[in-house]
């Protein structure tokens, strides 16, 4: 399967007449956008704001972040199973609007989280301070349930990203990158001398606020399976995950999964990258056992020599991570696991909820409990009323002078466990 990913680099986003790209500027027609995303029976008071890198703006509580993309050639459309039919995607050509993100914000349940600061010290910790953000906030109509609210907000974001993506459908990309993955047999013939590597992609799938969708299917209902990496670039995996802002994978990160990018970078040079194995993080121990057994089995079946395993979330998913690592290693396949830590504010606590000596190659994306003081921002999109009770917040988080002291947990993408960022932790 072969995908040409055309990138259009945008330098500014403005409101204006008729949604289109003018040079390097994205013009958004406010009314058109609302029409494209509107009509949800559960939401009202939908609002669109723009936030640019370097501005004194804080966005919170952030739900999802999504990159505008559009399918130009090949089967299906972006976000299969969610917005479009379940055609297999990942082939042909897709255009990606770079430096722009749709951000959905709003309170789904009482305790909420997810901060994006567009400037100041907090901006260093979130990848989404570098994108021009089209922020969508919406109020739930009275009486709707959190499940419905979450689903409505999720769909709103996807629709907005797909709508904006249309604006680059006919724009000549600044850069085209071709990604190709062959079926295992052909792949083996092509690079017989290189070690065969797979990517085990763990998806948070536990229930309300903890879900991920693959081609529209709630991934907790799946058993581990194999995907072409390019399917994921076309939005085949979508986030419905609202817990743990720092280390959940927003849809943007699924679409731009850095492990996939970096494995492709080495593909044909030092490794033979065969594909992605998606697996879930379930509630019951029996499901954890089954999914990790299957994951290891598929790794073996694909004849892998090595695998990278990435986690989503913390605590209970640590058990899945360690089970996957141990069982894959027991098949004689070398693994590297990618995680983050909750070592307490002083860094002295136990970092993970599970451990195994076989997990001897670990990439950490930082200690999520470390605190940071975020300065006052001139403009607020959303509300900070929940800061003291959000994950990573605490009594007194929101101070009288408008500054906020929080743990990095509260910042969207701060310790992302696909290794999207540069943050890490070291032993002192």
């Amino acid at each position: 399967m072969k995908l040409e990913l055309g990138k259009i680099f945008i330098e500014d986003v403005q409101f204006g007449e008729k949604t289109h790209v003018d040079g390097r500027i994205l013009i958004i027609d406010h009314t058109e956008l609302l029409e494209a995303i509107g009509g949800d029976e559960h939401l009202w008071k939908i609002r669109v704001d723009l936030a640019h890198p370097g501005e004194s703006v804080r966005i919170t509580p952030v739900k999802d972040v999504i990159e505008p993309r559009v399918k130009v050639k090949g089967h299906g459309a972006i976000f299969p199973g969610m917005l479009s039919k379940v055609d297999t995607v990942g082939n042909g050509r897709t255009h990606a609007m770079k430096n722009v993100a749709v951000v959905t914000a709003g309170k789904v349940v009482g305790f909420q989280e997810g901060i994006i600061d567009m400037s100041g010290p907090g901006a260093d910790y979130t990848p989404f301070s570098k994108t021009h953000n089209v922020v969508i906030t919406a109020e739930p109509k009275p009486g709707i349930k959190p499940h419905e609210h979450e689903a409505a907000l999720r769909t709103l974001g996807l629709k907005a990203a797909a709508f904006l993506g249309q604006a680059v459908k006919n724009v000549e990309p600044d850069e085209i990158k071709t990604y190709e993955t062959l079926a295992p047999r052909e792949a083996a013939l092509l690079h017989p001398e290189l070690p065969r590597v797979g990517y085990v992609y763990m998806l948070q799938t536990q229930g309300l606020l903890h879900d991920t969708y693959v081609y529209g299917v709630d991934a907790k209902k799946l058993v581990p399976t194999v995907m072409y990496p390019t399917e994921i670039m076309d939005g085949a995996i979508v986030s419905g995950n609202c817990v743990s802002a720092c280390d959940k994978n927003p849809t943007y990160i699924h679409m731009n999964n850095p492990v996939i990018e970096d494995l492709y970078e080495e593909h044909g040079k030092t490794i033979n990258f065969l594909g992605v194995i998606i697996t879930n993080e379930n509630v019951t121990l029996a499901d954890k056992e089954r999914s990790s057994n299957w994951t290891a089995k598929i790794c073996e079946f694909m004849g892998l020599d090595g695998a990278i395993v990435t986690q989503e979330g913390f605590g209970n998913p640590d058990t899945d991570l360690i089970m996957n690592c141990r069982k894959i290693e027991e098949k004689g396949i070398k693994t590297v696991i990618v995680t983050d830590e909750y070592a307490g504010r002083d860094g002295a606590s136990q970092s993970l909820a599970d451990a195994d000596p076989k997990a001897n190659a670990v990439i950490t994306n930082g200690n999520a409990n470390e605190t940071i003081v975020l300065p006052y921002m001139n403009r607020l999109i959303g509300t900070t009323a929940f800061i003291d009770s959000c994950a990573g917040g605490f009594d007194g988080s929101l101070r009288e002078d408008g500054t906020i002291k929080v743990e990095l947990q509260a910042i969207t993408g701060a310790t992302n466990e696909t290794g999207f960022g540069y943050l890490s932790a070291a032993a002192y």
């Binding site: 090595g306 990278i308 451990a355 670990v362 943050l423 890490s424 070291a426 032993a427 002192y428």
Partner: protein, 349 residues
């Protein structure tokens, strides 16, 4: 600018007073520099100087911890030091524990930065590595020359309030504190690099070392005990009444070895537990509950067990360092092997 003031701590041996025969000397204050303090003082140059040295016997400190701590703190206070140095203790166990304890105390009570040094396997390191900076030294005083520059560099940094780098940069024993850093490559790229190294069999450094596991695979089950000699070993602290060897109630530095030749039952009159980590009532009522000699004798009489070894070994597992435990195990194992023991019944609490 006036030189900054340092108070130094030594044991009786390094202060040149005497060996084990002087180990029970109480804390004593001397003006100026003594023994290893000389080398440290010289290397500190104009920045700081050791103004006083406190000497305490290792046995005294370990047996009178509360009195020692008070006395030592009272001796340090009037100097209002800018920093406190202890040791280095190398591989001397009791000395290491004393150095680390006093350094921690000074840091906590007097709010003065403190630094000590010792060999990584010193039990003092196990106990206090999280709380105080401990420079890693070799296992004998022969490594003093190497330890001095490391200790002095860290001393200067602590005196000036400079940021302390990683253990590898500074030479201290990792405290197990996790601190965030930004790296040059993103996490995914580092993961790919690490995987490539691992696949090639090359060296790589994990970014998070799993807590260390010291798992011993259990030996194969014995089919027939009727010809075997079985020894009994416990970490439950069962000792003859009045604890003749003074096995500590916690953080044990020793174990006891006691004959059970001709004894059928561990009675409340003759035995008790030294363990300070659990409610001793039931163990003291009937010490067989921890070390089941009574049923073992029954089995011996019934011929299920060939013979019960005539000595039992006992220590206390309560907070006892992994290093000490390992050392006890090795020594006890060696003795039992030499005595021709075939199997061991190991009981804990």
């Amino acid at each position: 600018m006036a030189k900054k003031k340092i108070v130094h701590y030594l044991n009786q041996f390094f202060a040149g007073i005497g060996g084990e025969e002087k180990a029970d000397m109480p804390p004593e204050l001397r003006e100026g520099v003594i023994g290893p303090g000389m080398a440290l003082n010289a290397a500190l140059g104009d920045e700081a100087e050791i103004v006083a040295t406190i000497i305490c016997g290792d046995s005294y400190f370990n047996e009178n911890p509360e009195t020692s701590k008070h006395k030592i703190l009272d001796m340090i206070k009037p100097y209002e030091p800018d920093l406190f140095l202890a040791g280095p203790a190398f591989n001397a166990g009791r000395y290491g524990v004393a150095c680390a304890t006093v350094a921690w105390l000074v840091q906590e009570e007097l709010k003065v930065p403190a630094l000590t040094g010792m060999y990584i396997e010193n039990p003092g390191a196990d106990l206090f590595r999280k709380a105080v900076y401990i420079v890693e030294t070799g296992n004998s005083a022969a490594s003093m020359r190497k330890a001095v520059p490391t200790m002095v560099t860290m001393t200067k940094k602590l005196l000036n309030g400079e940021e302390i780098g990683t253990p590898a940069e500074e030479g201290y024993i990792p405290r197990g504190i996790r601190r965030n850093v930004f790296r040059e490559e993103r996490g995914s790229r580092r993961a790919v690099n690490m995987l490539i190294s691992k696949l090639k069999g090359e060296e790589y450094e994990t970014e998070y070392a799993m807590p260390s596991f010291d798992r011993v695979p259990p030996a194969d089950a014995l089919q027939d005990l009727s010809h075997l000699t079985i020894a009994m070993v416990t970490s439950g602290g069962i000792v003859p009444k009045a604890n003749p060897d003074r096995v500590e109630s916690s953080s044990a530095s020793k174990y006891g070895k006691y004959s059970i030749d001709g004894i059928d039952d561990l009675t409340a009159e003759e035995y008790e537990t030294a363990h300070g980590g659990y409610d001793p009532v039931y163990a003291n009522e009937d010490p067989d509950r921890v070390l089941p000699l009574d049923v073992m004798r029954d089995m011996e009489r019934e011929g299920i067990i060939g013979h019960i070894y005539e000595w039992f070994y006992s220590t206390v597992g309560n907070g006892t360092s992994v290093g000490n435990s390992r050392a006890f195990g090795i020594r006890i194992g060696k003795e039992l092997k030499e005595a021709g023991v075939d199997a061991v019944l190991l009981t804990s609490t």
